[in-house]
């Protein structure tokens, strides 16, 4: 009798051990960077599944390697760059941030480049070069409408800077052809 009970009990434990392999796949539940599931869900199947992402992932696709087909336009030429020293003297907030913009562009993270340009614009909102920079980032992202808005804004602040005005007009010309 007693052996029978202990047998059953050990079966209970063994079954627990044996079935452990497949189910315990995720391991430590401590880092929760993934979208979380509310604990205590009524449907046991739901909590075992990968929770559905209910937010849009809006990070725009990076269009570095788009092949030139009939449908997709070829990747645009890099926008004309103006020399850095015209934009901001070294050691200023703007030059520091422009270095980050360059770095983000080099890494192909256009959206971060745009974000850092915006951060610089909050510090110097009337800096024509920063607006121009933002315009050329959007141009390279093929977001031409936005690029045009920024380029026109840049032009409105360019004042007597003929070189910069020429560059901005050249960019506007390129946008026009799209």
């Amino acid at each position: 009798m007693i052996t029978r009970i202990s047998l059953l009990f050990s079966i209970c434990l063994i079954s627990a051990c044996a079935s452990s392999g497949g189910a315990t796949r995720t391991g430590a539940p401590v880092s929760t960077s993934e979208p979380a599931t509310v604990r205590g869900q009524t449907d046991p199947a739901a909590s075992a599944q990968e929770p559905a992402r209910s937010y849009p992932v809006q990070v725009p696709p990076q269009r570095v390697d788009i092949p030139a087909t009939a449908d997709t336009p070829p990747p645009p030429e890099p926008a004309p760059e103006t020399p850095r020293d015209r934009a901001a003297p070294p050691g200023t907030p703007a030059s520091t941030l422009l270095a980050s913009v360059d770095q983000a562009m080099a890494e192909g993270d256009f959206e971060r480049a745009a974000a850092v340009s915006e951060r610089a614009l909050r510090i110097s909102p009337r800096d024509a070069y920063l607006w121009y920079r933002l315009a050329s980032i959007r141009y390279q992202q093929q977001r031409y409408d936005e690029a045009e808005g920024f380029a026109r804004r840049a032009l409105s602040f360019a004042g007597n800077d003929r070189d910069l005005s020429r560059d901005i007009n050249a960019l506007l010309g390129q946008i026009d052809q799209r």
Partner: protein
């Protein structure tokens, strides 16, 4: 008989076995999928430090305190600062922003008045041009469970805290299998000796189970189930996994309707600082809380909390985790619980409304409540707090008291929206004159006629048509306009006067209704509606002539959008409250960048701006000119509606644009014009914010010319003894009848002068 008993036993055992299997299954399923519902956290725009930044030493230290920085005589690590006259030294904590990681650095900030004069690093950091503080968390969107936590990997939990918890709660943690009979026996003896409960017999594993399944029930069945679950948990998961989950799961306090779970959040809650900045005595205090977060609450029961902390420290010493000296030092510390403002969750309800509205386009409520998103907003705490501090008094100062004998109704209400003049970022919002008011949000939902606030759009439409200049002569004379059917419309001026022939710029500055209707009817109402929509109006008002005088309903936010376009010289940028959304670990999910579109010709905008600056110099806002003499030139426009029901002012400098609305929720009369009400409130707040003067580039095709001060249609009676200099578009010069420049000969001017010498 025996047979029956044996049958019963077999059935019973089978039932127990099935129960075991079920428990085992449940533990594996729940624990391996254990991911907490995490609230979305909303952040204000972080404070940027750079030479020239608009920030005072007091504002900086205020922000540092909100971020839980500790004031110390010598800044030795992240999260500390020293304020010394015009210098504030601090060590930032660093933060994972969506546009890159901000490093943790030491920086000296020198102030000159209300601006940052210079930044200096130390030898390690070198030259610093720019530093960014961590963003202040302004609100959360909480899960329905009411639980909140900041999940942390076990490797990031300070060793002292892990030791303290093990020492006081379960010092045989590494030696048992989830249940600890020896521990239970020892606790029993200890408690017997002490004559009360000083030690629990529950292992950490059992406590974790208890927390996960949230039952207070103390039945034997419950106890057995708990023990079995603890065994199953130990069977399938490592000690580190269990300890890590415990550190994040355990309940450690209550903050309003928010339950504080896990040590990382408890550190923020009780000390206002991150866990890794806490000292031994503070960690020991937290380690004592699982026993009874309310009973040992350091704020409410400081003595009990201190005693409990000292017990934890003594246990740590007994088990060799700390030396006697460490123990004594820590036990001698005062309790240092932060008295931090509990503004979480409901700090800025009007702004939060806007954020929710923006986010609801892309995120459902569930994602916001459970996925631990980080939402970076455009809220500028300097602007928001300055506005909130001043708004109620500013409104009270203009409020018209009820006539004697008349019952006082609900007090005058207000709404205000302040945006960044060049990007359209919403920097501050008030939905009521009372800060923190969570009811009707007037900034978004008080949709009212805007009165003369439309006049700049009428004038812009005229200037854009190319047929009018600032010196175009309009007729401010009675008019009756036929509407559909037999209806007619006979507008009047606010003061019931008529001013005859007036210049276009003058009609705008003095807000003359009849002259505005004159020009509006010349260019056509549909053109004016088009211009309004170009400026950012989203509704589509029917093109009745009354639109010319502001029979258009807009919320203060709509007005802010329209004036934003004027403030950025004809570039419309959609207002935005949310800049980016990331996961809890800083991975970028969405970004809402600045957009801008040119909707008006720069020269037309320049001319309009000139006229609108005159509103402060000569027009309806001139009564505030002396109070704003450090800020002028500014541009703006007053608005008043029928019977003084709404008082509006919208105006802008080079950095900020602001809209103020005053009125009553039941739409009764306020007794205020735009000029006597909203303008004064606007001035109070904008002068405190040190709104920056407008800076305008003069477009290349603008020329300045003199015209006679008095507008006339007949050149023969032109009076050039008193002139005014106005900007004109090249090729759209003043009518010869009014011009007093170039196109006159010297002789003509001499004759003019002689003619005007009167005895």
């Amino acid at each position: 008989m025996w047979w029956l008993i044996r049958r019963l036993i077999v059935v019973l055992v089978a039932a127990i076995a099935i129960w075991c299997v079920w428990i085992d299954y449940k533990i594996r399923r729940d624990f391996s999928a254990l991911q907490w519902a995490l609230p979305a956290r909303l952040y204000a725009r972080p404070v940027e430090l750079y030479a020239g930044a608009h920030l005072s030493a007091a504002e900086l230290t205020d922000t540092l305190r909100r971020l839980g920085y500790r004031e110390s005589s010598q800044v030795a690590g992240p999260g500390e600062y020293t304020a010394n006259g015009s210098r504030v030294s601090l060590w930032t904590r660093g933060f994972s922003f969506w546009d890159g990681d901000e490093p943790s650095i030491y920086v000296d900030v020198d102030f000159l008045g209300r601006r940052v004069n210079a930044l200096r690093g130390n030898q390690a950091t070198g030259e610093i041009a720019l530093a960014r503080l961590e963003p202040v968390e302004i609100a959360q969107i909480n899960p329905d469970t009411g639980e909140d936590r900041l999940p942390l990997a076990l490797s990031d939990v300070p060793t002292d805290l892990v030791n303290a918890v093990i020492a006081v709660e379960d010092h045989r943690f590494y030696n048992h299998f989830g249940v600890d009979p020896i521990g239970i026996a020892r606790a029993f003896v200890t408690n017997l000796r002490a004559g009360g409960i000083v030690q629990g017999g529950s292992t950490l594993t059992q406590q974790l189970i208890k927390n996960l399944y949230l039952t207070e029930e103390q039945t034997l069945r419950r106890k057995i189930e708990e023990a079995l679950m603890a065994l199953a948990l130990e069977l399938h998961f490592s000690k580190e996994e269990i300890l890590g989950a415990y550190m994040n799961e355990i309940f450690l306090g209550q903050d309003g309707n928010r339950a504080i779970h896990g040590f990382a959040l408890a550190a923020e809650h009780y000390f206002g600082r991150p866990l890794d900045e806490l000292d031994l005595d503070e960690l020991a205090l937290l380690a004592g809380l699982p026993r009874g977060a309310s009973y040992y609450h350091p704020g409410r029961n400081p003595q009990r909390a201190t005693d409990r902390r000292n017990v934890v420290l003594a246990q740590m010493m007994n088990q060799g985790f700390i030396s006697q000296q460490q123990m004594e030092q820590a036990q001698a510390q005062e309790l240092s619980v932060s008295a931090r403002p509990t503004q979480r969750g409901s700090g800025y309800p009007a702004f939060m409304d806007l954020v929710r509205e923006d986010l609801s386009r892309d995120y459902d409520a569930d994602a916001l409540q459970t996925e631990g998103l980080r939402i970076f907003t455009t809220l500028d705490l300097r602007v928001q707090n300055t506005m909130e501090a001043a708004l109620n008094d500013a409104v009270a100062a203009v409020e018209v008291p009820p006539a004697p004998g008349q019952a006082a109704g609900a007090p005058l209400e207000a709404a205000m929206v302040i945006t960044d003049a060049s990007t359209g970022d919403i920097r501050a919002v008030a939905g009521s004159r009372r800060p923190g008011y969570t009811g009707f949000n007037r900034a978004l939902r008080a949709v009212r006629p805007v009165g003369s606030l439309v006049k700049p759009a009428v004038m812009l439409a005229a200037l854009e048509s190319g047929n009018y200049s600032l010196a175009s002569v309009l007729s401010d004379a009675p008019v009756t306009i036929e509407l559909d059917g037999d209806n007619t419309w006979s507008p009047r001026n606010y003061d019931n006067q008529m001013y005859g022939d007036v210049y276009l710029y003058d009609a705008l500055q003095r807000s003359l209704n009849l002259a505005t209707v004159d020009i509006g009817m010349q260019i056509g109402v549909p053109d004016v509606v088009n211009t309004l929509r170009e400026l950012g109006l989203t509704s589509n008002p029917p093109p009745y002539p009354s639109v010319l005088l502001g029979a258009v309903n807009m919320s203060p936010l709509d007005v802010a959008q329209m004036y934003q376009t004027l403030a950025s010289n004809g570039f419309r940028s959609p207002l935005r409250a949310v800049e980016a959304v990331t996961t809890g670990t800083g991975e970028r999910l969405a970004r809402y960048g600045i957009e801008t579109e040119q909707v008006a010709d720069p020269t037309s905008m320049y001319l309009l701006e000139w006229a609108m600056q005159g509103v402060f110099e000569r027009g309806t806002a001139r009564n505030m000119a002396t109070r704003l003499d450090r800020n002028l030139p500014l541009a703006g426009k007053t608005g008043t509606t029928n019977d003084l029901r709404d008082s509006w002012f919208a105006g802008y400098g080079s950095d900020l644009a602001g809209v103020v609305w005053l009125g009553h929720d039941d739409n009764r009369e306020t007794g205020l014009t735009g000029s006597s009400g909203a303008l004064r409130v606007w001035t109070d707040i904008m002068s405190k914010l040190e709104i920056q003067p407008r800076q305008s580039f003069t477009p290349a095709d603008v020329v300045f010319q003199r015209v006679a001060q008095q507008a006339i249609r007949n050149g023969n009676s032109r009076d050039c003894s008193d002139t005014i200099m106005l900007p004109f578009r090249e090729g759209q010069l003043p009518d010869p009848a009014t011009s007093c420049d170039n196109n006159d000969s010297l002789l003509d001017r001499l004759i003019d002068r002689v003619r005007n010498i009167r005895p």
